[in-house]
């Protein structure tokens, strides 16, 4: 097995104690200085003779007849030998792909000697492309290079950075990128990306540049927690579009570049075990999901069937505890070339993660009250939720490349991702759990088993037809699915007595209420073809044109069957009796089919002239969208179809100032298509409010400008600073419409114009063994929407007045910052990283009433990871997330007293200017594992 490039020799013996020591290492110990016995020092920097770029991990051997010292260059190409004996040495510098250099160094007593070395590449590798190939494609250096070469604006996180980071899913990795914040799911994992303050609807996700369908039953967005991070070669966040890219991104594009077939046979394996601190004081509760039905009763028996209570199995409501909820993941890959022409890579990733969280929630009552002041908030009873989540995440990925010859290549990619989520959510509504009071609780136990699948296949070809003409094409078939074979929301009321002396809660009477079995299916299929042609008009001017066609279908099913329990006294679910069903709902706003055909074509010119590089052109996208809903034929909009064409100009300009500085300016027109359900005028129940679509919704258009300055120095060191401005026409936000005079429904609507602007800074700086990486972005957006005020009129009658309120876009944070401190000692084979991510406050729930939006308080999370080289090919690692157990807190920005709090001393309510309305707790997660390369 040729493992490719080995830059250094390392210790072959595992010092277990050292590993443990470094597990507990802190930043303070990083700065410890070793006392010296000799004061002779040799230092220097190793660079590429041609490019001047520092070379990382070059081996330096210093020896004479008595002594031998080894060192390896650091991240900035520098090396240092401390405490060497005085004398004359031979110094040898070796680096793969470069000629070895030898020289003699005379170390005089008490002298520090500086010896900078410029290595010459092997003559057969003069072509810089070959040098790139010798760099690991997943390295930070290669990531920086791609960023810099790219015509448009990118931020890249390399595989190497992912390995070193505390993250194991793509969702969590993404938050390290500049200007990106995450919407987290109930288990605290990042699920949706907000890019530059633009929510997930304004962004899209691709694998190797090919758009992937969504398993989500409502949106187009792809849940980013489904992807294991280990399959990535790099993660790109694209912030300005080129004409050849699909135009439906206003915030940005998340592109997952999967690992490629390597040049040599390569085998990788890594595995890990972990634990969540949440289960130190919570037991993990789950249910047996075997035998769960993949079909609904109607699919099994036909739609004329009258479902019986016996069709619904309550065994999924029998909960068991897991004593040792130990997390595990294992990733493996094999790749290489079978023949000179044929290469492959196969990779598998499997994760089995127990996640827990608890949440304290003060649900908003349907409406505030008009006294003592207008819009005084009113709350429903306190909810205490406990989530037990068992996630099994499977990722497979296969790449086959076949090179017919130098000019004709084809690649086949297939990637399969599956996320199984088994969730027991226990919700106690009432006083006993958290406030230790007697009273009436309502207990809701949810058993949920959800499977989400994304399967993407693409066949791509590249052909150099003539000297000046090349063509590439892709044929894509992708599927995304989600099913919930188990979704049961059992509920009972419970009259409880809290004993103040023993602190025991005793149940006096439980009554089982009617509860639903819900089945959801969602399936989206994409069939796409892409064709691009590139013609070299002159050496400096390339014309490209091409197009794509996509046929997308979406089928959604939502069926709910309610069992009659009739408030029967409740002891255990297996003893309950269910004489009949009270409701069968096989159709609602989430039952629909949609078809979307997109035809797009473009023309672009890429022009290089002296220090200028300009890439610009136009793209045309025609969208034809249609749906069939379950709406009554007596109401307007049972079916609908939409046809629109967008003309999207874009230009990216790059200007080089010297070798190290670039200035970029860009402009692009972007759009965002409404989510499928947003057209469907049928109600369905949402998380807090009923929702429905709006068939007159229009797609969003935007104009986006960027200006960025980049300064590169060192190997990986760089600084970028930029500003952006977005003008958004017809942004879609949810608002509350009175569907009739007395029913609020959350509806998507277009809201005139919105603006979004901000600034971003990104920097990386290395100081021999230390590095600091960070980014900061400031975003400001504003939108004005209608709001209600419930108040008294002059005649002392209660009235609801219409008003407006200007606020940021939902989900947009003003400040987002990332800061990572890195430590790397090649000699000891240690790499460590402490990462801090800060997300400023943002709106989580928009209220129909003025001043009653739910804001997420700023969050600040610290994660830690360490890698220790334990052998030539083995690295041990540890990852700790959420070190400081940072909670997620929502609040109302109002000074009015929250009603319902009056006679209850609610926890957390210490701030007079805000009312805390939600408090989630996730605790720390630990992983330790190994990596074999």
């Amino acid at each position: 097995m040729d493992a490719g490039i080995k830059h250094y020799k390392s210790k072959s013996i595992l010092y277990l104690h050292k590993f443990i020591f470094y597990l507990s290492f802190t930043l303070i110990s990083l700065s410890a200085i070793t006392p010296s016995a000799f004061s002779q020092v040799l230092r220097g920097k190793v660079t590429d003779q041609q490019t001047g770029e520092p070379l990382v991990d070059a081996t330096i051997i210093l020896k004479n007849n008595y002594k031998k010292y080894n060192s390896i260059t650091g991240l900035d190409g520098s090396y240092i030998f401390k405490n060497i004996e005085a004398g004359t040495y031979s110094e040898a510098i070796q680096y793969v792909g470069y000629d070895e250099q030898r020289m003699t160094v005379n170390m005089e007593k008490d002298r520090a000697v500086r010896n900078d070395i410029r290595l010459k590449p092997h003559t057969w590798q003069l072509n810089s492309v070959v040098v790139t190939a010798n760099l690991s494609k997943g390295s930070d250096i290669s990531a920086r290079r791609v960023e810099r070469i790219s015509s448009n604006l990118l931020n890249i996180i390399s595989a190497r950075a992912i390995d070193n980071s505390p993250d194991i899913t793509v969702g969590n990795v993404l938050q390290r990128a500049a200007g990106v914040s995450l919407v987290k799911n109930s288990s605290g994992d990042g699920e949706k990306a907000i890019i530059r303050g633009m929510a997930d609807r304004y962004n899209y996700t691709t694998i190797n540049g090919v758009k992937i369908p969504s398993p989500d039953d409502k949106t187009r967005s792809v849940p980013l927690d489904i992807f294991p991070a280990d399959l990535l070669q790099r993660l790109e966040v694209v912030k300005s579009l080129t004409p050849s890219m699909e135009g439906d991104a206003i915030g940005g594009v998340t592109n997952m570049v999967l690992k490629e077939a390597p040049a040599h046979l390569t085998f990788t394996l890594n595995g890990s075990l972990g634990y969540s601190n949440f289960f130190n004081n919570h037991t993990f509760s789950t249910f047996e999901n075997s035998g769960a039905p993949w079909q609904t009763p109607y699919e099994i028996h036909g739609s004329g069937y009258a479902p019986q209570p016996s069709d619904f199995n309550v065994k999924y409501l029998k909960y068991k505890t897991v004593k040792y909820p130990v997390n595990a993941f294992i990733n493996g890959g094999i790749g290489g070339r079978i023949t000179k022409n044929f290469g492959f890579l196969a990779a598998v990733s499997y994760q089995r993660i127990y996640k827990g969280s608890s949440s304290l929630f003060y649900p908003p009552s349907g409406q505030p009250q008009p006294i003592p002041t207008a819009n005084t908030p009113v709350f429903s009873p306190l909810e205490y939720r406990t989530y037990n989540n068992l996630q099994s995440r499977l990722g497979n990925h296969l790449v086959l490349n076949y090179d017919f010859n130098e000019h004709n290549k084809i690649i086949f990619y297939t990637a399969f991702f599956q996320l199984d989520r088994i969730e027991h959510r226990n919700l106690q509504q009432g006083l006993s759990q958290y406030l230790h009071l007697s009273g009436q609780d309502y207990v809701y136990d949810r058993s949920l088993f959800q499977r989400q699948i994304i399967w993407s296949n693409s066949l791509q070809g590249k052909h150099q037809i003539m000297d000046k003409l090349s063509v590439d094409w892709s044929l894509v078939y992708s599927e995304a699915q989600s099913k919930t074979p188990v979704w049961i929301d059992q509920q009972y009321s419970d009259i409880v007595t809290y004993d103040n002396s023993t602190h025991n809660v005793s149940s006096e009477q439980k009554n089982l209420q009617d509860f639903p079995f819900i089945f959801t299916h969602s399936k989206e299929i994409d069939r796409s073809g892409y064709l691009n042609a590139h013609y070299k008009l002159t050496d400096r001017l390339v014309f490209s044109t091409g197009g794509m066609y996509r046929h997308k279908t979406r089928d959604n099913v939502y069926e709910s069957y309610q069992l009659y329990a009739g408030n029967q006294p409740f002891t255990a679910i297996q003893d309950a009796s269910f004489p009949r069903l009270t409701r069968v709902d096989t159709t609602d706003g989430l039952t629909y089919t949609s078809v979307e055909n997109i035809l797009a074509y473009y023309g672009e010119l890429k022009w290089r002239f002296k220090k200028w590089e300009v890439l610009g052109g136009f793209r045309v996208e025609n969208t034809h969208h249609s749906y069939v809903s379950e709406l009554s034929v007596y109401l307007p909009g049972k079916t609908g179809s939409y046809n629109y064409t967008d003309f999207l100009p874009s230009i990216n300009i790059k200007y080089k100032i010297g070798d190290k500085n670039d200035i970029r300016a860009s402009y692009f027109g972007g759009i965002s298509r409404p989510n499928y359900f947003e057209y469907i005028p049928v109600n369905f129940s949402g998380n807090y409010f009923d929702q429905r679509g709006n068939p007159s919704i229009k797609h969003v258009q935007s104009a986006n400008s960027d200006l960025r300055y980049e300064h590169y120095y060192g190997v990986e060191d760089y600084f970028m600073g930029g500003v952006f401005y977005k003008h958004i026409i017809n942004p879609i936000e949810f608002t509350f419409r009175s569907q009739t005079t007395s029913q609020f429904v959350l509806e998507p609507e277009n809201f005139g114009n919105a603006t979004n602007y901000g600034a971003e800074l990104v920097f990386t700086k290395h100081f021999r063994n230390f590095g600091i990486k960070g980014n900061y972005s400031y975003t400001k957006s504003s939108i004005t929407t209608s709001k209600l005020i419930y108040t008294k009129d002059n005649n002392d009658n209660y009235v609801i007045l219409n008003s407006t309120q200007t606020r940021p876009l939902q989900g947009q944070s003003d400040h987002i910052a990332n800061l990572s401190l890195l430590y790397k000692s090649v000699r000891d084979g240690i790499e460590a990283e402490v990462s801090w991510v800060y997300t400023g406050q943002r709106i989580e729930i928009v209220s129909p009433f003025k001043d009653l939006d739910y804001w997420q308080k700023p969050t600040s999370q610290i994660d830690f990871s360490v890698n220790v080289k334990a052998g030539e090919r083995i690295t041990l690692f540890a990852k700790v997330t959420n070190l400081t157990n940072n909670p997620l807190v929502l609040e109302l920005h109002t000074t009015a007293n929250g009603y319902y709090f009056n006679n209850i001393n609610y926890p957390d309510q210490t701030d007079k200017n805000n009312i805390i309305v939600r408090h989630d707790n996730f605790d720390q997660t630990f992983f330790i594992g190994f990596r074999f390369k």
């Binding site: 009250q369 009273g439 009270t582 039952t591 007596y634 300009i653 027109g669 200006l707 007395s742 009235v799």
Partner: protein, 490 residues
């Protein structure tokens, strides 16, 4: 190029964007088109006896039978008039969707009947709720759209309704899959008149009035709601009178008023007077909720002359927003609620102790050290029995007031119904029907002559004639049945 680039950099980023934006707008949306399926409107066919379904209008004739074999729609602008003695028999869980107007005009001798095919009532105290067909919802209900100007129901039986809407979105606005009401009304400018009629059974609210003008008088409500639901639930924007009704065996309340969910229009204003409410509130498991009459969440109005017998709670008015043993209370517009002349009777001490519902948590203290209470109705000197002088010292609305003298009132002050033995042999709540009983006041009843007549009905709907309401003014006797023969005629 050099020059233009420099110019571009100097240019304000915003104007740069706007300039390019203008270029987009010039070119974009060349061919935008949208097609939405128009609503299907079938002209209403003139209704004929026999099987009916789809859009109908016209007149249902006296003593004819109409079998409902699918949902029925009365188009906007159309009317359906039902003559006395017509019988509408549902063959499944179908509904009437009323976009136009419906006038069901029965008479005392020939009532109109809405019922389910071949279904018998099972009225005996031992029948479990789970097997009583009254609580199944054998057919849907009468659903009025926002365009329904008149829903007028007189001398009509509406039995066994309350099936939830299960087929997709119903063809009217304002109702969703899963809603289950026997009668639903929602036009803020429309009129809902229910007179001299009978509602039997249900699964949730027997009547949900989300907005509109109403007059609900002289009706008999039995077995309303399965395990929850009010007999007459008025939400935001309901204005009118609910009087002279007999409510028996309600899951939660008889009449209830709330201003919840009323953007822009009028405040809920309900007069509840001269009602007789018996054995109600026992099929609701929520603590502190469900009894007789309820005002909450911003509603206002007047409650006089009501006779409350063996209910879980007496007149309940929410006076402060707070927790009631973990359940939320939201304050009514107490500045504009008047009440009194309530006749309370209970077999049991526990019932007596909830004539004026008690807030269990008395720890809250309001402005100036005055105890705060979530429940606001307190004894009035006009009430029977008059507990004002028997209240313990320091009593405030919502505080417990038990004492041996008060407890001794259990089984006392029998209102003397003509035929309804008190104390009851079975537990209160088990008799949830009126058949076989007579709630007229026998001579010598302590409720006779104790009513308050010094106030006016709201009278928000048109009066007189076949299509208008017949409003009975406040009566001299407490309860629905007046000794002078007026009031409830059943």
């Amino acid at each position: 190029m050099e020059q233009s680039k420099k110019g571009g950099l100097r240019m304000n980023l915003r104007s740069f964007t706007l300039l390019l934006m203008a270029s987009i707008l010039m070119f974009s949306c060349k061919k935008t088109s949208t097609e939405l399926q128009a609503p299907y409107v079938a002209g209403g066919t003139t209704v004929q006896p026999g099987n009916i379904s789809g859009s109908i209008k016209g007149t249902m004739e006296s003593n004819q039978t109409y079998n409902v074999t699918s949902d029925v729609i009365i188009n906007a602008g159309d009317s359906l008039i039902i003559q006395p003695g017509a019988k509408i028999v549902f063959q499944g869980t179908y509904n009437f969707f009323i976009k136009g107007s419906l006038f069901s005009l029965g008479s005392s001798s020939l009532p109109v009947i809405f019922t389910f095919n071949n279904q018998q009532k099972m009225d005996n105290p031992a029948e479990p709720v789970a097997s009583d067909p009254a609580y199944v919802g054998l057919w849907g209900g009468l659903w009025a759209d926002t365009s329904c100007n008149n829903l007028v129901i007189k001398w009509t039986h509406i039995d066994f309704a309350g099936a939830p809407i299960s087929a997709a979105q119903p063809p009217i606005a304002g109702a969703s899959t899963g809603d289950s009401y026997n009668i639903f009304f929602q036009n803020p400018h429309g009129n809902f008149i229910l007179e001299d009629s009978w509602l039997y059974g249900g699964t949730d609210d027997a009547i949900r009035l989300k907005s509109g003008h109403f007059s609900v008088m002289r009706n008999t409500f039995e077995k309303g709601g399965g395990t929850g639901g009010d007999q007459f639930n008025v939400k935001g924007g309901g204005i009118g009178d609910c009087a002279y009704n007999l409510f028996i065996g309600c899951a939660t309340n008889g009449p209830k008023a709330s201003d919840k969910g009323q953007p822009g229009s009028q405040q809920t204003n309900c007069n509840f007077y001269n009602n007789t409410i018996v054995n109600s509130g026992y099929r609701m498991v929520e603590l502190g909720r469900g009894g007789s009459i309820n005002y909450e969440e911003g509603a206002k109005g007047m409650a006089y002359n009501n006779l409350v017998v063996n209910c879980r709670f007496g007149l309940r008015i929410v006076g402060a927003t707070q927790s009631y043993l973990g359940n939320a209370l939201v304050v009514a517009d107490t500045a504009h609620i008047k009440y009194g002349y309530t006749f309370n009777y209970s077999d049991s001490v526990s019932g007596i102790n909830q004539f004026y519902p008690v807030t269990p948590d008395t720890s809250a203290v309001g402005v100036g050290g005055v105890p705060m209470s979530g429940l606001w109705a307190s004894p009035q000197a006009s009430d029977i029995p008059d507990l004002v002088s028997m209240m313990p010292s320091g009593y405030y609305p919502g505080a417990p007031y038990t004492s041996s003298a008060i407890n001794a009132l259990a089984g006392q002050n029998n209102p003397k119904f003509v035929n309804f033995p008190l104390p009851e042999a079975a537990t209160p709540g088990s008799i949830a029907y009126a058949t076989g009983y007579d709630f007229h006041l026998a001579s010598g009843s302590p409720a006779i002559g104790k009513g308050f007549t010094g106030f006016q009905p709201i009278a928000s709907v048109p009066q007189g004639g076949d299509y208008g309401a017949t409003i009975t003014s406040p009566g001299a006797d407490i309860g629905a049945y007046q000794s002078n023969g007026s009031g409830n005629q059943h």
